[in-house]
């Protein structure tokens, strides 16, 4: 099921571990990206083959971690931290504002497939709260105005987002 390019990446990832099962998390990340951001039973079975583990094991692992999704996400995935440090600085206000502006509840994807909002736990940038991740990019010290500006750009499709590249995807230089 992996594309030829994905297959190559998968092989590179596998080569970095003593046993294939160890590569399960990075391979799941890879599979999720090949399938436009979410995993299906077929992909779980494929990953099971690649990592030589039972499919139940893969499902057990995939459902343990919050970053693996089983439904399509919007083109823009807004993850807003409302944990305590961000909360003290207004994280919840930012979340509420984004929900209102996009007319979309956290935990959902808009029908046009443009946006998903997720209320998330601490993102490890607490001193710079409130924090929001758009796809992979961190946005810090957010105000309502700054957030609006980001969403403006997203709505107009003028914002350039870095492509999500996980370290193991890259061919090793050595």
């Amino acid at each position: 099921m992996f594309s030829p390019e994905g297959q190559k990446k998968a092989e590179h990832i596998l080569s970095r571990y003593p046993i294939k099962m160890n590569a399960l998390l990075p391979i799941l990340h890879l599979a999720q990206r090949e399938n436009k951001g979410y995993l299906t039973p077929e992909w779980l079975e494929h990953v099971a083959e690649v990592c030589e583990v039972p499919a139940t094991h893969v499902e057990g692992v995939a459902t343990f971690y919050t970053m693996f999704k089983f439904r399509p996400l919007g083109k823009y995935h807004l993850q807003i931290c409302t944990n305590i440090a961000c909360g003290l600085c207004g994280g919840e206000k930012i979340l509420e504002h984004v929900e209102q502006r996009l007319d979309l509840h956290a935990g959902h994807t808009r029908e046009d497939g443009q946006f998903s909002i997720e209320e998330v736990e601490c993102l490890g940038a607490c001193g710079y709260g409130p924090v929001m991740i758009v796809n992979e990019e961190y946005h810090e010290r957010l105000t309502v105005e700054a957030t609006d500006k980001i969403i403006d750009e997203l709505e107009k499709n003028t914002k350039e987002l870095p492509e999500k590249i996980l370290p193991l995807d890259r061919p090793l230089t050595a």
């Binding site: 779980l44 139940t56 499902e59």
Partner: protein, 530 residues
Amino acid sequence: MPTFYLDDQAIEFEPGEKIIAAAKRAGIDIPHYCYHPALSVVATCRMCLVDIVDMGNGRPAPKLMTSCSTDAAEGMKILSQNEKVVEGRELVMEFLLVNHPLDCPICDQAGECTLQDFSFEYGSGNSEMEYSKRVYGWRDIGTFVTLERNRCIHCTRCDRFTREITGTNEFGVFNRGHQLTVDTFTDQPMTNKFQGNMADICPVGCITEREFRFKKRAWKLKKTNSICNRCSTGCNITVEEDKNKVFRFKPRENQEVNQWWMCDDGRISYRDYGKNKNRFLQPMGRVKGNLVKASWDQIFEALKSRIADLSPNPNEVVALSDNFASNEELFLLKKMLADVFDSDKIFFPLRAWSQHETAYPIDSLITTDKSPNRAGAIALGLLGDEDDAKLKEALSETVKIAFILGNPFNEDNEILELLAKAELIVYIGTENNHWTEKADVLLPGQTHVEKEGTFTNKNSRVQRSNIAVKAPKETKPEWMILTELIQFMGKDADFHTSRAVFEAIGASNDHFKGMTFDSVGDLGSLLTSI
């Protein structure tokens, strides 16, 4: 052996043994859910907490420890009943019950549920939790078991069972935290051949046997130790019955044979002991072509005079047994042939067989040898071979009298046709079949759960099965029928119990030398010589 102290009782342990296991050997049960001696230790239910006041080095453990995961150590002093421990257990119980439906009145596990037991002992009975409980749907996950996940206490025994015991991995733990759940891969059904065991090891009524669903309250069942007779492994079981009706078979622990397990085929063989319309319950003899009911005395008299009329030569008498006869029955059948007819033509279907072997020991329960007493038949000197050449040779000569025990060789028409030519056919069995048409005399025997006897399994282990239900009035156990037949024919056979028959085997057969019912006991013992 090194020793530790549990509530002041000295307990010896093997180095490396966990506290809970050593205590169990000494007869003390520390409450637990996730621990199972067959499975890896996860120490997650936290029920088995104990207070280690001295770790063996004079120092106490910093907090309560789980006895399922803590190695016993020389001189350790452990308290399992003090306030701290009881409080800890009450707390764990309270947490376990927070989301438990407590629907014991409609739960099949009730009566054998450790959650119910411990909640009685340690729980306050009513939960202070005032929020709605977690709800999952009921799921049918296999041919054999059902999953009522609202009752799950997340001990993961089921998950570890399909990972570690069967290696089939159909089961998994999904999600995390409060959403944690057990299920099969994207809702596929279970496939392993040992699913019933998952119902056994699930400590609550989450996984239950579909067969048993809503049929009976478990505490009403009377249990009798027995063995499964569906293959030559001879898994140790209990036959569980109420009002003379068998409701289920459950495996009984025997580390030398089946450990804690049995296969699903064996487990559902309990069905064979329900109401059977086909059963014949009275001796019958053929008069002018028709079968006529008779008393035991009448039928033995008639048989005796018919045999006298035929006055067969030794090689004109044969006896055939099916796979299911016990050592005692085979011994007596052989004895009758020898003492009464001077014949040694007694045959048993000794088939080629193979053992299923994988990296998972449980698979070795399954064998292609469906004969529970094959090794016994060999030890007792019965005749037979893979393609029944010897039997066919014997049948090619004139056969005047044939004794049929059970339903042997019924898959081979050639044999059946040859046999049908005998002038006198005596059929000892329990149900009507093709022999009913062919036989001149029908003697009603008893089923596996109605009589006692010993069987020799594939590893030459002699094991006992016991009387679990009362047999119908006019029937007799086969060993008794054969004993009386020998007596009627004027020969010596002074056996009043199957126990006595087995002792006679022990006295006369080197393989069984010195063995008695008592020496075989509940867990069986190996043939003296193989």
